[in-house]
Structures are given as structure tokens and as C-alpha cells.
Amino acid sequence: MGPVRAAIVTASDRAALPRRLPWTLIVFLILATVPWLGSRYNVFLAEQIIIDALFAVSLNLLLGTTGLVSFGHVAYFGVGAYVCGILMKTYGVPFTLAFPAAGLGTAAFALISGYFCVRLIKLYFAMLTLAFSQIVWAICYKWNDVTGGDQGLPEIPYPHLDWMSAVPGLTDLSIGDRFYLLSLVLIAVSLAVLHRIVRSPFGRVLTAIRDNPERAGFIGVNVRAYQLAAFVVAGAFAGLAGALYGIFSRGVFADYVFWSKSAEVMIMTILGGMGYFWGPPVGAAALVWLNQEITDYTEYWSFVLGAILLLLLFAFPGGIVGGIDTLWTRLRNTRRA
């Protein structure tokens, strides 16, 4: 193991960032004003970012908090997207039911798949998550009757958001903007819940498991049960993110579930900093923005992504937030000295 001052810090908020400012509230308010202050393109970008943020934070519950390396997290994103999409498009179920159903359905799938995965040690765990993820992909790709096969499910309807006309200030917004605001609220609530979970006694036990699973067993922790619980929670929230994504991108397609997306979300998480709760959202924002900027200039986005990944691994293992944290601590120390 590397030096103790490793990049991976515990989930308990050890960030030396100025605490006095309510950062999350400020960011939320800024995001909320995008439909008015920004263009349709900005709304599109913002929605992409917040959905990916939720997806990445759900992965980090496994990766950063519990120490479970899952290469198949996109499976849950995909299941959520398909469940919500199928319910809304094929069966005309309203969003208010389809959305929680997506979460529950994904949680059920996570319970079953997770049961098998947590029984395996690190490497095999990662491979089985990958195998399950590809099985989901293969099913989505081939099951024409239900999932639309390789054609997918285009034109998922928007939820009924006419009631927003009654709210002052929201009357003139397009349906896309309204959905963005709805997503923002749902994602904010989800993140708040996840934050609570990470800081709870349950979360503390998870960090102990990450640190030393054997010792955790000897202080009375049923390690597998806790890992499975984390797996289900992470899967459920990934499913919710997927459900929103299906509506946002006006369709659900099999390539949403391809394993390269699992790699992408993992890179986002590490780019932001997997030792910090708000690392993954920062990573999501950075990656989505970078992607947009770079694909304007070149088609070699993979190369850039690979280079960023290598840079992270060799120079900035703590990610963006980790880098800021280190910088801030150093500044504070020099100021004191």
C-alpha cells in the first residue's frame, strides 16, 4: 500500500475548503437560473451534467465509500432508463409512477446481481459486474419486442408538466426547460439523500469495510450484507439517473448500456476525486464540458480522455477536488507559518 497520506481520503468531509460559504446552495441556485440566463444549448449541457453527477455519485458510494470496484455500474443506469422508458412509452404510465418504479426495479435487479457479486473478491467482483452489465446490454440489444432491440425506444414522452404554468415565472418555459427544472429538483433531493447516507452510521461502517474488510468482520460487521446494501442503494440511484436520461435524450438505446459508459463514469468519479462526496459531480461537469469543447476541434476525443486519465493516475490521483484541497491546505499552512 502506498504512503498513508494517499490520495484516498475518507468519506467524512476532511476537505479544508472554506466551510463558511454554502457552496451547494449557491451551485443549485446558479443551475436553477440556466433556463433564463442561458441558451437552449446551456440547458442541454447543464442537464447532461446533473444527470451524470447523480450517476457518478451513486458509483462513488461503491468506489470511494465502500471500496467496491464495479465495472458494470452502467447496467443499473440502463435498467432504470429502460424501465421508465418502457412504462411511459409502451404502457402510458405517468412519470410520477414510472420514475419511482424505475428506482425500485433497478434496486431489485441490483439486489439479485449484487448478491452474487459481493461473494467474490476484488478482481472477480469487478469481472462479474462487467459480465452482468454486458448481459443486460445483450438483452437490451436483442429483445426487440420489449426493448426495441437495436432500434431502441425512440420518442419517450415528456411527463405532464402543464401544472408548471400555474407557477409564477415558469409559464413561458418550454417543455424541455421545465423538465430540466424538474430533473434539477429530483437530482438535488437524491444527492441530499445520498449525502445523508454517506454521513450516517451506515456510511461509517462502509468506510471501515473499505479500509479493512477483515477487521470489520472482527468488530461484528457482516461485511457482505453491508456491501450488498450499498450495492442496492447505488444501483437504485443510478437507475433514477438513467430514467431521467431516457426522457432527456428523447429515447433509450442499447448503447447507453455498453461497458465503455461504465469506464466513462468511473473516469468522471476519479477526475473529480473519489475521496470526496462532491468530487464526482465536479468530475462530471469537467468531463461533459471538456467533451463538448474538444469534440468541436477534433474527432480524437478518446485520445484526450486517455491522456487525461493517465495524467490523473500519475500526477493527480486525488482528482480535481483533491488537488484543490491539497492546494488550500498548503496555502493555509504557509499563511500560518
Binding site: 500500500m1 502506498g2 470496484v69 452474487f116 461473494r119 467474490l120 473478491i121 476484488k122 478482481l123 472477480y124 469487478a126 469481472m127 462479474l128 462487467l130 459480465a131 452482468f132 454486458q134 448481459i135 445483450a138 438483452i139 440489444y141 436483442k142 461497458w259 465503455s260 469506464a263 468511473m266 473516469i267 476519479i270 480524437y300 478518446s302 485520445f303 480522455l305 486517455g306 491522456a307 486519465l309 493517465l310 493516475l313 500519475f314 490521483p317
Partner: protein, 292 residues
Amino acid sequence: MAPSFLFSQFMGGLTTAMFLFLIASGLSLVFGVMRVINFAHGSFYMIGAYLAWQMVEWLHPSGEAFWPAALFAALGVGALGAVVERLFFRSLYGREELYQLLFTYGLVLILGDAAKFIWGTGQLSVSTPPVLAGSVQIFGTTQPLYTLFIVAIGPAIAFGGWLALNRTGVGRMVRAAQMDREMLGALGANVGTLYTGMFVVSAFLAGLSGALVTPVQGIVPGMDVLIIVQAFIVVVIGGMGSLWGTFWGSVIYGEVLSFGILIFPGFSLFSVFALMAVILIIRPWGLFGRPL
């Protein structure tokens, strides 16, 4: 079902199997010694294919240059492996396995686009070397000579590898490293050189298989990703780090794929991953592997 048809399917499966074995053997080797899955192994394979095409272009597009081109390609990829291991991979050894895995994935991204940049996105092909360009009739089916060559090479390499591992001094070290790396270092063996060596051999094998596949398959971007997933499945079935495991894993994979398609056309895509999942659930270390 006519026996000749069955034989044809069988040979098809065997060909796939032997190609996969050539590639997967390197992956399994690196894992056995270094305990790391090299995602970039598929990229090495792809670069081997491109390099072979390139050499054929430069030397003599008619096909006589195939053998030196294949050798050059394999050596080239071996050299690439040496550079990657020495310059980058080395510094990640003490770190978490996740970082090592992600590094190899980063390589996949970089090498994939590099190949696209150098050779474009179109499909390239190499003609079969004249000496193997014909075919023979066996059991009422027409088998291309080149296919038979590949089917023969698989077991040859497996046997050669087995000999190397069990009858040479270096092989002994490799087997010792597979069992206990720390001990080996403590005994004074130069573990660093061993790792580099293993990585280079693995890359060489990947490059060679890439070169050898070119007469049979088109060279396209994305072949790196396609092959690594299959190599992965093979190594899981057979058992990480086991040479014979990889061999038989490839055969099982090849034949399941070949005959599975007959029973149920959509079968193959789903079934291979299902097979992988089942093996991981029941016996994670594969048919021939050892519990970690």
C-alpha cells in the same frame, strides 16, 4: 444434420478458438505473474495487425512479404510493450490495482485513436501468403490451408509455452512468480526484469496474433475492443494464469459460439457473457485456475 456440415462448424469454432488462444495466452500470462488485467492487450493485437499491413505495403504488397511482415509486427509490438512497461507501468506497481487497470484502459483509448490517426478509419486487408493460399477437402468440406495453419499453430504454441514454463530456468522463475512474488524478490531474483520480460513476451504474442489474423479478417478500428472482451471471457473460463486453461477455454468458447448460433441465432451475444457470469459465480478461478 450432415456430418460434413457439423465438421465445418467444428473447424470454424476451432479456428476462432486458436486465434483467441494466441491472443488470450499473453493476457493470461501477464495476469498470472503480475496479477493485472491488461486491457490494452487488445490494442497491442490491433497495432500488430496494422503494422503487418504497413510492412506488407512497404515491402511487397503481393503477399510474399507476409512472413517477415508478421515477424516485424510482432517485434514492433513487443518493443512498444517494453516502452510502456518500463516508462509507465513500473511506477504503478505499488499502487492500488484499480489504478493499474485504469492505466491500461487509458492506453486503449490512446492507442485506439493513434491507430485511427495513422491508418484512418477504413478497412484494410492483407492477402493470404501464397504458400498457404489454397485449400483442401476434408470430410466433404473445403478447408482453407491458412485456417489449418492457424489450427495447427495453436497447440504448437501451447506446447511450446508449456515446455518453456516447465523445462527452462526462466520458466521456473515465472512459475515461482505466479505463486509468490514477494518470495521471489526476497530470493534475489530480478523481479523487475522478469516483469518487463513477461510484458514484452505477452505484447509480442498479441502483435503476432494480430498480424496472423490479417489474411482472414479485415483490419478496422474497434477490433481492439472486440477482441479484448472475448479474450477476457476465454481467460475467465479457462482460469487466469493457466496456459492450458486458456487453451481449453478458447476451445470451449469457440465451439459454444459456433454451435450455439445454430440453435438460437441471438444466442451468441448473450450466451458468452452468461457463461462468463456462471463460471464466476460457481468457480471464479476458472476450470484450470487456482484460487487466488
